[in-house]
């Protein structure tokens, strides 16, 4: 079977009703390019991000300082990283609540392998990433092959992985990880204020963007989210796709765990507590539909940055975490309610009334 165009013989004769005898041709798009590119959720989020950035630069003291961007990326790195696979998972209509626990678990393993087992750091780190992948594979197996709901499965592994991390280390906190590795992550790129770890993220972001938006696999991801039965009938291996995605989430969480270990020179069982919800909030804010089937990575990255920039600006303004949390929450709700209101106002409530969870 090869990609083909139906040029050989006409397959249908003229239907009784009409037509001029030649096959129809179609415009590729119903709307002009600027509309397709600009009138999207993603553009709205990016615009909002720009507005907030400009506002903060003008109004928030010290926001324009050189440290802001540096710290912003250092803080956001794990969320940025995990948001990549999380986007794909949510687009298939699933969810992974266990990522933060996987971060803690892999960080704990990095510590144990490096400090107690005497592995060299790169080996310990690679092993931790592999363990992350195994954690993800376990989720993916239960969701994809056993067919269990991911919400329930990952609530379970959320507790399980965190429990193993805490159990493994107990009161201990491992420290003393090699500085040269930590520096590779946190040192600035040249004279800029971007940490070097950002390169890893950028590479992964490109890889994930190609995977999601420019590959057959990515098309399958969207199809599964929109209609997994139809996807299966067209030869998409739904179970394997889910397994792969959860594995990716696990491996990237493992990477984030190693990052955590290096950035804080610390491996503890309680690292990254509650981060799963931050990641999910950022992904949803970035325009990914919780029903699956819709979303784009550039929106998600903008969503993560938006939350980070707001938090950073508000800290500089001397606001407490509480107010930041309130703003984040309101933003999240607004991001789903406002499109609803708009489409309602424009008189065409979307016909989609799928599950509410």
């Amino acid at each position: 079977m090869s990609a083909s165009t139906p040029t050989k013989t006409p397959l249908t004769k003229r239907p009784a009703g009409g037509g001029d005898g030649s096959a129809r041709t179609y415009a590729s798009y119903a709307r002009p390019a600027w509309q397709r590119l600009l009138l999207t959720r993603e553009t709205a989020i990016i615009a909002l991000l720009v507005v907030v950035l400009v506002w903060a630069n003008v109004n928030v003291p010290n926001f324009d300082g050189p440290l802001t961007v540096y710290y912003l990326f250092l803080d956001l790195m794990p969320i940025l990283l995990i948001a990549l696979p999380m986007t794909l998972i949510i687009i298939t209509g699933e969810i992974d609540l266990s990522v933060a626990s996987t971060v803690a678990l892999t960080s704990a393993f990095t510590g144990v392998l490096f400090t107690d087992a005497g592995f060299s750091f790169p080996v310990a780190a690679l092993a931790a990433i592999a363990i992350g992948a195994v954690c993800g594979a376990f989720n993916g197996f239960l969701v994809g092959y056993v067919g269990l709901p991911s919400l329930a499965v990952t609530i379970g592994t959320l507790a399980l992985y965190r429990g193993i991390a805490v159990g493994l280390l107990g009161t201990e906190a491992k420290t003393g990880f090699p500085d040269e590795w930590a520096d590779r992550v946190t040192d600035r790129i040249g004279e800029t204020s971007y940490p070097q770890g950002l390169v890893v993220f950028l590479v992964l972001a490109v890889v994930f963007a190609l995977l999601l938006h420019f590959s057959s696999f990515g098309r399958g991801v969207f199809e599964i989210g929109l209609n997994d039965e139809a996807a299966r009938f067209s030869g998409v291996d739904v179970a394997r796709t889910k397994l792969v995605l959860f594995m990716l989430a696990g491996a990237v969480s493992g990477l984030a765990g190693v990052y955590y270990t290096l950035r804080f020179d610390l491996s503890r069982g309680d690292s990254a507590t509650g981060m799963e919800l931050q990641v999910i909030a950022a992904v949803l804010l970035g325009g990914v539909s919780i029903f699956g089937g819709r979303g784009a990575l550039h929106g998600v990255i903008a969503g993560v940055l938006l939350i980070g920039v707001i938090a950073s600006a508000m800290r500089l303004e001397g606001q407490t975490q509480n107010v930041t949390n309130i703003v984040t929450g309101v933003l999240l709700i607004a991001s789903v309610i406002i499109p609803r209101l708009l489409s309602w106002a424009s008189g065409r409530l979307p016909r989609r009334t799928r599950g509410d969870t």
């Binding site: 440290l67 803080d75 906190a173 610390l266 690292s271 990254a272 500089l316 949390n325």
Partner: protein, 316 residues
Amino acid sequence: GGDDGGSGGGGGDDATITFLPKNLGNPYFDASSTGGQNAVDAFGGSFEEVGPTEATPDAQVPFINTAAQQGVGALVISANDPTALGDALEEARDAGVKVVTFDSDVDAEYRDVFINQASAEGIAKAQVDLVAEQIGGEGEVAILSAAANATNQNAWIDLMEEELAASYPDIELVETVYGDDDDQTSFDKTAALLQTHPNLKGIISPTTVGIAAAARYLSTSDFKGQVALTGLGTPDQMRPFIEDGTVTAFALWNPEELGYLAAYAAHALIDGDITGEEGDTFEAGDLGEYTVGENGEVILGEPTVFNADNIDDFSF
């Protein structure tokens, strides 16, 4: 600046002093921040309190970063981890921020001065002595701590174990459990302790949240009066339990004074009166003069023991 007569002079009078406790909403740190605020009011400048909602090091780091960005005069911090905050603190110091730790220290290289509430040995010994006295020098005891990784609690627990082994061979430490400085967890862990160890004679809780929760459980339990409870607590929280006899005595330094002293140390650092070298001395308002000791430590004093006789004299 320099036009405020309240301090010993110098250029840092209007500098900001930012307090970063382990977490917000913890009465112990509320008291220390009050002390800090009072001190700053006294010597002039501006006081800020920021902090995470959860007592973890990763949550504290962004606040340290922000202090560096703002270029505050000094950061006064109770650390959730001795090493994890190191890089962030270093960056802050590179940006010209003086770093004072209080209550819970980081490794000495990362800060200028540590304001110690009391020597760790003193704190450990005070609690061990209290429990030994209350249970008659023999029997099983257990410890209800804060988070499993809490630096100062873990240091004290180690010292308490040594002290028990050395001075009270008849007292057996049967278990250490962790209430995560959360009321509900501490409460439930107390219940579990009492059930798991029916012969338990005493509980030491070297954390204000833990001792209050444990007292609350004990006061409603059959074990009230049979199992002794002591540790570190604030008088305000413990008053009802001293009154109803659940607890006979517990210890604590005055956290308000701790914050007050830390703010003055910060002020002295900003002004350049001290650098954190051993032997530096500075004036701490109502508390008088203090000298920086070994490793840049300043010790507030010995803990106060509170009991039915004196508890009403204190309010914090």
